[in-house]
């Protein structure tokens, strides 16, 4: 089931990565157990799993924000020690700097890399225009809608031209229509230079519509990767239309039959924990 490939040429390669946290009473909570995952350069991979299954944990490992308790993480063949400098990370929660304007938020990535402020601002303006917010440069984050903030976040990450894009349910808090618009925007931007993308979501439809491969994780604790499907839909795709495709439905049904059990397990577990406490 594992989409193969030599680990050396992979943009992201996790081998038997286990992540554990110390929690109360000196107990240890194993979030992810022996996860092996490969993302090729230029590949769009979506991770889907029930709530609390450690999808974000896996992403944080790839970002270098978390170190695995055991197992290896390699980025373009190099073992990862510390933060992943090749990666851009789009967070689920609001991560913009509230005290900077949209323009400054986008430009900051270049400024801290030592690019002159004027040049950085000019490029930031271009990026704001390409995410459709050219006229909102002077707004502060609280003056923007949730979808607009996500657009600024996308520009903020992409302006640094990272080779890998990590996305943690980036469109989770948005309403259904805005999510679809954002999905199309993301595909449009991605198709220009095809970065490696690791996209975490709980929405299977979104995953199939966007990705080249869909990876399914089991319910936690000790989540594992339990499935890996290639998405044969042709590109370029339109998120609105791809959902009407026959192949889309067949694949959705096939993956859902596996995912459903895990979702139920996840619910049962959280219900059990609620009863115990």
């Amino acid at each position: 089931m594992q989409a193969g490939g030599a680990a050396a040429s992979m943009a992201v390669a996790l081998d038997d990565a286990t992540v554990a946290f110390g929690i109360a009473d000196n107990r240890i909570y194993t979030a992810v157990e022996k996860a092996t995952l490969r993302v090729a350069d230029g590949e769009f991979v979506a991770i889907v799993g029930p709530t609390g299954c450690g999808k974000s944990t896996l992403l944080n490992v790839a970002a270098g924000l978390l170190a695995p308790a055991s197992g290896a993480v390699r980025i373009f063949g190099q073992p990862l020690g510390g933060l992943n400098a090749q990666a851009g990370y789009l967070f689920q929660a609001d991560a913009l700097f509230p005290w900077k304007t949209a323009l400054d938020n986008v430009a900051i990535g270049l400024e801290i890399a030592g690019i002159a402020r004027d040049a950085a601002l000019a490029r930031a303006q271009d990026w704001l225009t390409s995410v459709g917010l050219g006229a909102f440069a002077g707004r502060y984050p609280h003056m923007l809608s949730g979808g607009q903030r996500k657009r600024v976040g996308l520009a903020q990450v992409l302006i640094r031209n990272p080779k890998i894009l990590l996305m943690d349910e980036p469109f989770g808090p948005l309403d259904a229509q805005t999510r679809q618009v954002m999905g199309n925007l993301l595909l449009d931007l991605w198709s220009r230079d095809r970065k490696a993308v690791l996209f975490v979501t709980h929405d299977l439809e979104e995953a199939i519509a966007l990705a080249d491969r869909v990876v399914i994780m089991s319910a936690g604790p000790g989540s594992r990767i339990i499935g890996d499907w290639k998405v044969p839909l042709p590109r370029p795709r339109d998120i609105f239309e791809v959902r009407l495709d026959k192949e889309f439905h067949a694949l959705h049904r096939e993956i859902w039959s596996v995912l459903k059990d895990e979702v139920m397990k996840g619910y049962a577990q959280s219900a059990g924990m609620g009863a115990a406490s």
């Binding site: 924000l65 929660a93 700097f97």
Partner: protein, 262 residues
């Protein structure tokens, strides 16, 4: 309520209060005056006292001294508060060691320090500045400490992922966050700077608004005490308006309906 109506109502309150004050101190009710002018003075005397202060220009010197003391206390106190608050927040061990002493010093009523400052620093402006500093410092210190501690972990992680070094995180994340908390306590801090100055003057000095009030009180000149209080109130309101203007400029990025954080 529209603005003019609101303003009208506010003026009306002042008119009614001053009118009552005037009536009760001059017109006998059932054969006796309810507020004896010896203890309560009357609006006319207070007004003419204020007028004569400004007409002769005596009051400007005292206002200037109080203003200077307040500004110095505010600047020194908030600078120390920002620096030490920042330092403690980034060094949890240091903060843990000093924690009981900080709490102890903050719990102490600052007025009792006034005589000690007067002994150490003399009766000039610096003993008043020192008193103001002890008041301002703790407000700013606690706010900045909190501000640095409570930086959103997501924003912090975002800064790291965008490639910020520790120094750049300081400049672009911790510093603005700490400053925003400091500015949210600006009104309180400025108010306390004035309190420190005036109380210090009251307890021993040769100039300033506190001195004027204390002098008037010493000679049972109630009109002088009231006049001093009115001038002081106007002074504080003027400063507060100034602070509001500064705040509006500096916190332009904050939502208007910000949670009460002062």
């Amino acid at each position: 309520m529209t603005r003019p109506v609101l303003l009208l109502c506010q003026v009306l309150v002042a008119v009614v209060v001053i009118g009552l004050w005037h009536l009760l101190t001059t017109v006998p009710v059932f054969g006796r005056i309810l507020l004896p002018p010896f203890f309560f003075s009357n609006p006319w005397d207070v007004g003419s006292q204020i007028y004569s202060w400004f007409a002769s220009g005596i009051i400007w010197k005292h206002l200037g001294i109080t203003l200077l003391e307040s500004v110095l206390a505010f600047v020194i106190g908030s600078t120390l508060g920002v620096l030490i608050g920042f330092w403690f927040a980034r060094q949890p061990r240091l903060a843990a060691i000093f924690d009981p002493y900080v709490k102890m010093a903050n719990a102490l009523p600052r007025v009792v320090l006034a005589p000690i400052f007067a002994l150490w620093l003399g009766l000039g402006i610096w003993s008043k500045v020192a008193l103001g500093v002890t008041l301002v410092f703790f407000i700013v210190f606690f706010n900045v400490y909190q501000g640095v501690k409570e930086v959103s972990p997501t924003v912090l992680a975002n800064g790291r992922m965008l490639g910020m070094s520790e120094r750049q995180l300081m400049r672009h994340v911790f510093w603005p966050s700490a400053l925003s908390w400091m500015f949210s306590s600006l009104h309180t801090a400025v108010g306390f700077a004035v309190v420190g100055a005036v109380v210090g003057e009251y307890l021993g000095s040769a100039a300033g608004l506190g001195y004027v009030i204390q002098q008037a009180e010493g000679t049972f000149d109630v009109a002088g005490v009231f006049a001093g209080m009115f001038v002081l109130s106007a002074f504080v309101i003027a400063i507060d308006i100034l602070v509001t203007m500064v705040e509006k400029r500096l916190l332009v990025w904050k939502p208007v309906a910000s949670e009460g954080r002062s």
